[in-house]
């Protein structure tokens, strides 16, 4: 081969490689083996097992102190920005309030395009214009909307391809989670647990938007589980709704997981409706506060486990189902590990849903023991007495992390936090709040500021008296506490871990920090000035590892100093 022809071949190869990079589709196979391309972050939790763990190793406990800001992107709509960006071969895709999609250069933060979904005049959402992200499949990104639509968008041009209505927005339905792409389908669930919706998970053909299957999280009376919405007793002393199941809640507002081998997709189900007055909906109220395992092709229920039967505390079980292959009592187990809003840590066998472990990770007094099948024995408090954990839970929707490298499960916890619950009767009216309760925060010190439902401002005047935060590292097989990183304020930040044994997280104080995933030691921190309310993620471009988080209106991306 002459030098000239070698150069020509090299040039041709380069063109092929470049064109592959520009046009490589994110196939279902790539999604199923996401961990084999750690440079990318292909779905909400990083991979189908929802570990929020990256095999990248460039950032380590030894060099984390050299992290510095690489670039920032500023949004313009105020409010909690809860999205997790995706990164595919150097391109970052993310949502911003209320329902925009942004594509930008993951190395510089410069924008390629922005798609702005035209908002209807009004939407009905409990907690602001939240959107937690996108799914990608092929050359298409998918976003749920506040008015309960699912939109397909060309990943290169930002042009919409199709728009499917998932549910009626006027009934309080919305889609705030990041969709999950499984094989040739896009799976979403509906929010609206405070508006008396009948929740469901549904899958849509990725090419056409046509609905492929739907699983209602509230069964009809003639369906399995329907008998857990019991008839009202004759002459009920308090208001009882004979058709409670029709607006029984069971929202789905955080992305689920998927096991390609078992072909099961797992979804955490939200609170029953009304949230706090369980007297008017007798029975266990399946499948609220449960995890459901669905056949990914048909949506048929394979199994379920209910964390909080007949809930009166708003203990949504929408936490990300974390899948982990562990050793339990000397044998390998395909497990699901779960720190629930109700304050308990669980290990389930994910093929059958068998209960293996349940134990509290924060103070719990709504129950005291489990039976052998994992059903909690509930211990309601007398009127006016506090219940631990409080209404916002021992943890909530923000992502935990599991590191196969350390075998530890990491969760952002609210400690020292209780609520005095009070249920009141409420009749269902379409699109109206269906909470059914007047709750009071438990304030252990007279005169101390109450809270903490929403975000605090820049001044933390609640101090150590009420509700403090912590990152807890738990043994994934037992829930045993391995280390604890205390925070003065509570935290709504998710957690990222890496194969470099670095843990990234934030909090309401505005700090973004790196901890040693093995010991909990602080490695590095920076004050970003506003609450961090998303899950950090990491990726690599040009041989450099980046870590992204969001503080206030700012997407902040860090890398090691060169």
């Amino acid at each position: 081969m002459t030098r000239r022809s070698a150069a020509a071949w090299f040039a041709l190869l380069l063109i092929v490689l470049v064109s592959y990079r520009l046009h490589a589709q994110v196939t279902a196979n790539r999604l199923a083996s996401a961990s084999s391309e750690p440079r990318n972050w292909l779905m909400y939790s990083g991979g189908y097992f929802s570990n929020r763990y990256s095999p990248l190793t460039q950032i380590t406990p030894a060099n984390a102190k050299h992290l510095e800001l690489a670039w920032m992107y500023q949004a313009s709509v105020a409010g909690g920005w809860q999205t997790t960006p995706l990164v595919v071969d150097g391109i970052m895709y993310l949502t911003q309030r209320p329902n925009d999609v942004v594509a930008l250069d993951a190395k510089t933060g410069r924008v390629f395009w922005i798609y702005r979904y035209p908002q209807p005049a009004s939407t009905i959402v409990c907690c602001g214009a939240n959107n937690r992200g996108l799914a990608i499949l092929g050359d298409t990104v998918y976003m749920g909307t506040l008015d309960a639509h699912l939109i397909a968008i060309d990943a290169r041009s930002g042009r919409p391809l199709w728009n499917t209505q998932v549910a009626e927005a006027k009934g309080g339905y919305s889609v705030t989670l990041a969709p999950l792409a499984v094989k040739d389908k896009i799976v979403v669930g509906v929010g609206g647990g405070e508006y008396g919706i009948r929740g469901f998970v549904a899958a849509y053909d990725a090419r056409t938007g046509r609905e492929a299957w739907r699983f209602y999280t509230i069964p009809a009376p003639n369906e399995p589980g329907g008998d857990t919405w019991q008839p009202c007793p004759p002459n009920a002393a308090t208001f009882c709704d004979p058709e409670a199941w029709k607006h029984g809640g069971g929202s789905i507002w955080v992305t689920g997981s998927y096991d390609p081998v078992l072909n099961q997709t797992y979804w955490g189900v939200g609170n029953a409706g009304p949230d706090w007055n369980n007297d008017q909906r007798p029975g266990d109220n399946l499948y609220t506060d449960s995890v459901v395992a669905l056949d990914a092709d048909t949506g048929r229920l394979k199994w379920h486990y209910q964390f909080t039967p007949h809930d009166r505390y708003d203990y949504d079980s929408v936490q990300v189902p974390v899948l982990a292959d562990i050793t339990w009592r000397g044998a390998p187990v395909k497990a699901m590990v779960w720190a629930n809003r109700n304050g308990n840590f669980y290990v389930l066998e994910r093929e059958t849903g068998k209960f293996l472990v349940g134990r509290p990770f924060v103070k719990v007094n709504w129950m005291d023991t489990f039976d052998e099948r994992g059903r909690p024995h509930q211990t309601s408090q007398a009127p006016g007495q506090p219940t631990w954990p409080g209404n916002q839970g021992g943890t909530n929707w923000y992502s935990p992390s599991y590191s196969p490298h350390t075998g530890l499960f990491y969760v952002s916890a609210w400690e020292n936090y209780a609520t005095i619950f009070g249920g009141t009767a409420v009749e269902y009216r379409e699109g109206r709040n269906f909470g059914g309760g007047v709750n009071r925060p438990y304030v252990p010190v007279p005169g101390a500021p109450a809270g903490p439902a929403g975000r605090r401002g820049p001044i933390n005047n609640w101090t150590e008296a009420v509700a403090t935060g912590a990152v807890l590292a738990l043994d994934a097989t037992s829930g045993e506490l391995k280390w604890r990183f205390p925070m003065t304020d509570v935290t709504d930040s998710g957690i990222l871990t890496t194969a470099g044994d670095v843990l990234f997280t934030g909090g309401r104080e505005g700090y973004f920090q790196a901890l040693d995933a093995r010991t909990g030691a602080l490695l590095w921190k920076t004050n970003l000035g506003a609450q961090i309310a998303n899950g950090p993620m990491t990726y690599e471009v040009g041989g450099k590892q980046y870590v992204a988080t969001i503080s206030g209106l700012s997407l902040c991306v860090f890398a090691l100093r060169e």
């Binding site: 009070g422 007047v438 007279p446 609640w462 101090t463 008296a465 205390p486 003065t488 104080e509």
Partner: protein, 267 residues
């Protein structure tokens, strides 16, 4: 209270008798001959609420709380309010379709009104004497030496919390307890801080803000200080208030002082 309660609380508005002569109770002199004062309400709050009620609620509800059909505060009969939160909500939002309008009450006033409505039957108006605002100011500035640590309307020290609006955000009962048992009412943010730096410098102060890694405070010399916790050898949050108990004052002086503090509504 900035709004005149010219309509009915909790019920259908009807023409009500004229307001009775306002009572001016002494917060420390509430008699409870029938032991019907509920222990979860402070006597000072009940007395403060009685004064507010007499001045502004009796137009519709009457001196005995039975001026509206179907409502009898003294008899414990409410139309829809089961809990204190219900009462607060109705007072704050009013009752649609009736003459019961919404009222803007500060937390002190709300605590007083609710406490009085819940204890109207056991409260003996005749036995109480009024706290006097002017005398209370004299105690504050003189015998009590309160201004040595506290500040009101730009006068006094910054070492202890500024009290310029304490009458809006602390109830009468809480103020009375603050005077007699200061540590029991100390808000957590006001817990005294003792910090010792690695070079041995001792800093005492009052917190303004705190996070996981740092604390911002007023020190004893009224300076704004920000400390990094990792730079400290010792960091202690004390739960005992440096404020002395004012049990040494007479009941009348305490009542006067509370009356003065309740008058501090900020600007």
């Amino acid at each position: 209270m900035t709004t005149i309660l010219a309509s009915a609380l909790l019920g259908v508005a009807l023409q009500a008798p004229a307001a009775a002569q306002p009572a001016t109770p002494n917060p420390q002199s509430i008699r409870n001959p029938q032991s019907e004062i509920r222990s979860d309400y402070a006597p000072a709050d009940i007395a403060y609420g009685a004064r507010l009620y007499d001045a502004q609620c009796t137009t519709c509800h009457g001196a005995n709380g039975d001026g509206i059909a179907g409502v009898d505060f003294k008899g414990g009969r409410f139309k829809s309010a089961v809990t204190d939160q219900d009462l607060q909500r109705i007072i704050t939002t009013g009752v649609q379709g009736t003459a019961m309008q919404a009222f803007r009450l500060d937390p002190s006033e709300m605590a007083g009104i609710v406490a009085f409505l819940r204890n109207m039957n056991g409260f003996d108006r005749g036995s109480v004497k009024p706290g006097d605002l002017a005398r209370g100011r004299s105690v504050f500035q003189g015998k009590g030496e309160c201004a040595r640590c506290h500040r009101v309307d730009g006068q006094g020290s910054r070492v202890a919390p500024d009290l310029s609006d304490v009458g809006s955000n602390r109830s009468a009962g809480a103020l009375m307890r603050s005077l007699t048992e200061p540590s029991s009412q100390m808000m957590p943010i006001n817990r005294p801080i003792r910090a010792v730096t690695k070079d041995g410098t001792v800093i005492n102060g009052r917190r303004l803000n705190e996070d996981t890694y740092s604390v911002q405070l007023f020190d004893e010399r009224e300076r704004l200080v920000s400390l990094t916790k990792s730079d400290l050898r010792e960091y202690t949050i004390l739960t005992v208030s440096p404020m002395p108990s004012y049990k040494t004052l007479t009941e009348a002086e305490l009542a006067d002082l509370v009356a003065y503090l309740l008058s501090l509504k900020g600007r």
